[in-house]
């Protein structure tokens, strides 16, 4: 069973629908016991960083999730805000501590070129920096759907790939069992579903 972490924010239904479409049983839950029973976890996300962390805290999920992910090594995929929450801290609406599952900070996008608008919304490229099972079999020219105003600044060795928006924006990271994508695989049609399938099958 795939556990989708319900922290009161985010397009949970979209993510659950995509997982189901790929043929996996799925459960949306905020109950640590149910999530512990899952083979893999997805931390989806639409929303603000501070709200996300506060909701995870009030639902008593921070410690149990850290235990599952960091101690037991349960595979987890963070998507969009979920991808940012796995970092150490964010500057969105003030300074907030993140889950800290990978080193990194979340900052506002500062497009370098004129005419680039924030939020970064729409279909953009993915340029691989290193091999990662998430992108096995995904064509190099695949486009993915991004929608975000903040981006993750991560260490080089955890960056799987980037997209270009006034400079490189980290599009995917991996550190052991912790995976994350800034783009929405559940909203990126067939290539997005392929990324999700790789996580579900092979992570």
């Amino acid at each position: 069973m795939i556990g989708i972490i319900d922290y009161g924010l985010g397009n949970l239904r979209s993510v659950a629908g995509a997982v189901r479409k790929l043929g996996y049983p799925v459960e949306i839950s905020a109950d640590p016991a149910r999530l512990a029973a899952a083979d893999k976890l997805i931390l989806p996300g639409v929303g603000a960083f501070g709200d996300g962390m506060r909701n995870l805290t009030t639902r008593g999920l921070i410690e149990p999730l850290a235990d599952m992910v960091m101690k037991q090594g349960k595979p987890v995929l963070g998507i969009c805000l979920g991808f940012q929450l796995i970092a150490e801290e964010s500057e969105e609406f003030g300074r907030h501590r993140g889950l800290g599952w990978i080193p990194g900070r979340v900052q506002r996008i500062q497009p370098g070129e004129k005419g680039l608008r924030v939020p970064h919304v729409g279909w953009n490229d993915f340029t691989a920096r290193r091999d990662c099972i998430l992108f096995d079999g995904v064509p190099a020219d695949a486009l993915f759907y991004y929608v975000h105003s903040y981006h993750l600044v991560a260490n080089d060795n955890e960056i799987v790939g980037t997209c270009d928006y006034g400079g490189p924006i980290v599009a995917a990271v991996q550190r052991g069992n912790v995976f994350g994508t800034q783009f929405h695989p559940e909203k990126s049609q067939r290539h997005g579903l392929a990324v999700l399938k790789n996580f579900l099958e092979r992570a």
Binding site: R13, V46, G122, W123, N124, D125, Y146, H184, E186, K187
Partner: protein
Amino acid sequence: MLRKRVVTVLTLNDGTLFRTKLFRPDYRYTINFVDAWSIDEIVILDVTRENADREKFLNVVATFAAECFVPISVGGGIRSLDDVQRYMAAGGDKVVVNTGALERPELITEIAEAYGAQCVVLSIDARKTDTGYEVMGAFGARPAGKDPADWAREAEKLGAGEIMITSIERDGALQGYDLELTKRVVDAVGVPVLTLGGAGNWKHMADAFKDAGVSAACTQNIYHFTETSIASAKKYLAGKGIEVRA
């Protein structure tokens, strides 16, 4: 590089896909279209005027969302965070606000704080006046006493993540977008702008990208809804040097 978007807007009246040329609704056909071909994003709006049965509308949204793996923006009648929660639960990835934000601008901020600015699309309906343009609320019926560019700027400050500008005169006219209106809004804000109302051919879409600088061109008419026409629109745009997703 970020691609320019071609967005389809679906308007539902009392749970039925509403078209200006009264075809019978066929959701299955639409769903197939949406996922199989290269539409970049979908906007679904409830335009029911009176006694709207939101459950009916949200059921249609949910039907779409179950088989749809591109982003869906949902709107029509949103007045509160509770409404947003219901629209998102039905499968929306973003919400579209219009009259609700005119009545109570802080609604934009409330949504942005709870869901992030990227979740809020402010829709502006505008009509031409003797001196410029005027924002209209309540399905284009009620003058809001605002200039569209000013309202767009204010909405951006309040937390809107995207602006969708619609020319009331051009809606359904197939004579092209109102590029002057669109450009005024594009120049007023730093967030992406979508334009709607008036697309009759692919050149109109190219004009909106090249001359008005929009991030997305929206089409509403159902005749765009065929495999060949979407593909040919994108081919045409690519031929004009506009970066689109194939």
